[in-house]
Amino acid sequence: MAKIFKQRNMISLLIVVAVLFPLITNNTYYVHVMTLSFIWMIGVYGLNLLAGYTGYLSLAHAGFFAIGAYSIGILTVKAGMNFWGAFILSLLITCVIGLVVGLIAFRTKEHFFAIYTLCLGYILYLIIDKWDSLTEGVRGLIGIPAPASIGPIKFETEISHYYLVLFFLLLVVLIMYRIIHSLTGRTYIAIRNSEDLAKTIGISTMKNKLTVFVLSTFFAGLSGALYASFVRFIGPDIGAISITFDLLTYLLVGGIGTLSGPLVGTTLIVWLSQQLQGFQEYRMLIFGPVLTLLVIFYPRGIVGAVSSWYTKLISKKDHQRILRPTKVRSGASIEAEKEVKEG
């Protein structure tokens, strides 16, 4: 129980920091970078739900990010739709395309699924790049409107935009939290663990995998739509494979299959990239080896490493408590002591 309270405290603290951040810094550039990080985090959560919790690595994620961004861009700039209508419609478009793709993609498994989605991501990129009449091709879409005001709330300044994106991020984290800590989340983890075993306990793996895939493309689309309305200009590059690998890097560094991994990984890498901008492409000379070492020694990223270290610490403490019993003991340690005696 104490652990839950601690977790709650940590989350509240993080939210407070995030809310106060623009007021503390006074530096619009920092606010800009942080807003972009939040947008990426939403996309990374989509990847995390699919790859981290269900065990299917989709490399078409940037493609869906681009679908979200281009849908809202085309609907507002070319079709002249109002912002929020276009926003909702672009999410729907992403989900529908996700559903169709998922139906085909889940005929494959493991590496083949990754390769299939890699190809698919590239096809999506090519379509955006070559379909001049719809997407304006390499020229890109210019003049995407900022989010329209909702009642008295306007989104014209950087700071108001920051809060809008933060709102969506918190919503995504809440959804993720609830899914993971529910029967539904357990179902997904069962599929990741062993698909055969999941089937024998009556889980329809296809239905569940498809639901997760669509939800993950929803997050990617949301991230893309927010990106388009924030940056106001989009080019085909946002659908490039390298973006998928950026998102994957954030996830791996933070911790795949952990709830706070996307937050940690994205913040860390985005800020590091900003600091190391002077090195330009040579940054990769630092990132490459660090990432390789991380994957070898800490497959569940920074968050995974910290949490397993914490679990070890707790069990050590419990062990010491058993050796030197004090008056106040938890039920678990009494049981454990009994075991030791019986053994």
Partner: protein, 255 residues
């Protein structure tokens, strides 16, 4: 009373006939065993019944209903559970967390329930937890419920796999080599557990190589060799069957 029945069940993998024309009837509440040399088609036979493979011909009938072409998750919902030779459990998670999801198929809450945290979800989560504790008590693992599966003994892992199968509320459980890699004392414990399952009305069907155990607990034994049924009957009938002795020892049975 015949409970589950296979008729002319056949499975071909290319030119190899893994299961050939097998008729087998399982009686309710009894312990049924399938034995045979390695590669005799025992596991394939299980895979056919539990919907992992589709038979090349023949049929599987459960409770008077044809289930031959149903997918495995639907078969599980009808009340047929199974375990694997390797336990396939999630090692980094606790015993309780592994078993809770076993009752998922008896619940209805979906993704939306999870996101909105509806009363239905909460009630069903409590129900799954209760069921998990109930089956852990049944298999005698309540004291290790909060331990990680990775830290359990082989026998405890087998019991956890049993618990997971039992959490689905099955009418019949298929156990694929439940006592493999387990020492003689623990084997006895698992045999007792299987008897306990049968006594509570759950039909048991197992594949096993440990003859002593099979002979002591099985009500009925079927022997497979090269995919064909070569004998069927009570343990003492099987023990003296010439065909069976020949299949196991090779050559003639006169010696």
């Amino acid at each position: 009373m015949i409970f589950l029945e296979t008729k002319n069940l056949t499975k071909k993998f290319g030119g190899l006939v893994a299961v050939n024309n097998v008729d087998f009837a399982i009686e309710k509440g009894k312990i049924n065993a399938i034995i045979g040399p390695n590669g005799a088609g025992k596991s394939t036979f299980f895979n056919l019944i539990s919907g992992f493979h589709r038979p090349s011909s023949g049929s599987v009938i459960f409770n008077g209903r044809e289930i031959t072409t149903l997918p495995s998750d639907k078969i599980a919902k009808l009340g047929i559970a199974r375990t694997f030779q390797t336990t396939n459990l999630f090692e980094q998670s606790t015993v309780l967390d592994n078993v809770i999801v076993g009752h998922r198929l008896r619940t209805k809450s979906n993704l939306l329930d999870a996101i909105l945290r509806t009363p239905r979800l909460k009630a069903e989560e409590a129900q799954c937890r209760e069921k998990a504790m109930e089956v852990l008590e049944f298999v005698d693992l309540k004291n290790v419920a909060t331990k990680l599966v990775g830290g359990l003994t082989q026998e405890e892992k087998k019991r956890t796999a049993f618990a997971l199968a039992l959490a689905t509320n099955p009418e019949i459980v298929f156990l694929d080599e439940p006592a493999a890699g387990v020492n003689p004392d623990e084997t006895e414990g698992l045999a007792e557990l299987m008897k306990k399952m049968a006594s509570t009305g759950i039909t048991v069907c197992l594949i096993e190589h440990k003859m002593q155990m099979i002979m002591s607990i099985a009500d009925k034994i079927m022997v497979l060799n090269y995919g064909e049924k070569i004998a069927e009957g009570r343990p003492e009938e099987i023990r003296n069957n010439e065909m069976v002795i020949k299949a196991y020892l090779g050559g003639s049975a006169i010696a």
